[in-house]
Amino acid sequence: MLSERERERYKRQMMLFGDEGQELLKKAHIFIAGAGGLGSPVSVYLAVAGIGNLTVVDRDVVDQSNLNRQILHYDRDIGRKKTESAEEKLMAINPDITVRVIDTTIEEKNAVDLVGKSDGIVDAMDNYPARYVLNNVAIRKKIPLFHGAICGFYGQATTIIPGQTACLACIFPKAPPNEVFPVVGVTPGLIGMVQATEVLKYLLKRGELLTNRLFMWDGMQAHAEEICMERDPRCTACGSFCGTPGNEQ
């Protein structure tokens, strides 16, 4: 049940999806992998929307060079754990939700447990090996993976529904080399909003998800386009997905 305070807080968005929708958001548990450039705007907007349970995972401490884009962290947080900083800000933004933070590296061996009973995973990572780990967990648990990535003024996003859509490894079977990428804060801001919008739509069961479509944004040209994607039957991650119950964690 929503409290009076929550009703007031969410009044303007409940005009869109009512008590029922807001209750769906309140009951939801979303796993946000990363509290950096993408994780910052995603977690802030999911918190203000009233997603009842957020888990945020990051292993880093705040560095001065993060502050041009990682809006969860302030100058005074330099040297502090990003998870600690994120928890403080998100709870201050919305004390009516539950925020759980975990200071660790997401790896094959811990990812299934970290994700736990979440309803969906937001990919706010900065490298493909970690993304492939999240992709595998999403497939195993049959929960969506909301992918986003950025470089400079370019960004991309897609929504992966295991068993129904192309997975991350169908779309990008091979990782590009790891490198220090240029970035200006507005790009993860924009792509993070695409991801957060997808999370809301998925939980509310409304609208058309960004499935089997790779959204591509070129900020310099102010141009968005999408490329259709399809499942790869030979995909090493989801190719043998049979869609039968029993392998959930």
């Binding site: 990535a149 470089c151 991309q156 591509m216 994607m229």
Partner: protein, 92 residues
């Protein structure tokens, strides 16, 4: 004959986009991309390795259909084709 080549992200920065290329009959997909990428050595290097093979992470689309880079040489381009070439964007 004319084909349209579209690059995205880093490839676009190095090579531009929406390129209309004039190509000879029986030009294959790798030959087309090499021809267009010739103008910028860094762009060429971003797409092809030292053996002239597509780097393994390069994504190729022909008329909105995915082409496996390993099979690209079997694809002869046709007049009016639209080819998209892009890398996975990785940052977060």
């Amino acid at each position: 004959m004319k084909v349209r080549v579209r690059f995205f992200a880093r490839f676009r920065e190095l090579l531009g986009t929406d390129i209309i290329a004039e190509v000879a009959e029986r030009t294959t997909l790798p030959d087309l991309i090499k021809q267009v990428a010739q103008k910028n050595i860094e762009g060429h290097h971003a797409i092809f390795d030292e053996h002239g093979q597509f780097r393994e992470y390069v994504i190729l689309m022909r008329n909105a259909r995915r082409i496996d880079t390993a099979d690209a040489a079997k694809n002869v381009v046709a007049d009016g084709d639209e080819i998209a070439v892009f890398p996975p964007v990785a940052g977060g």
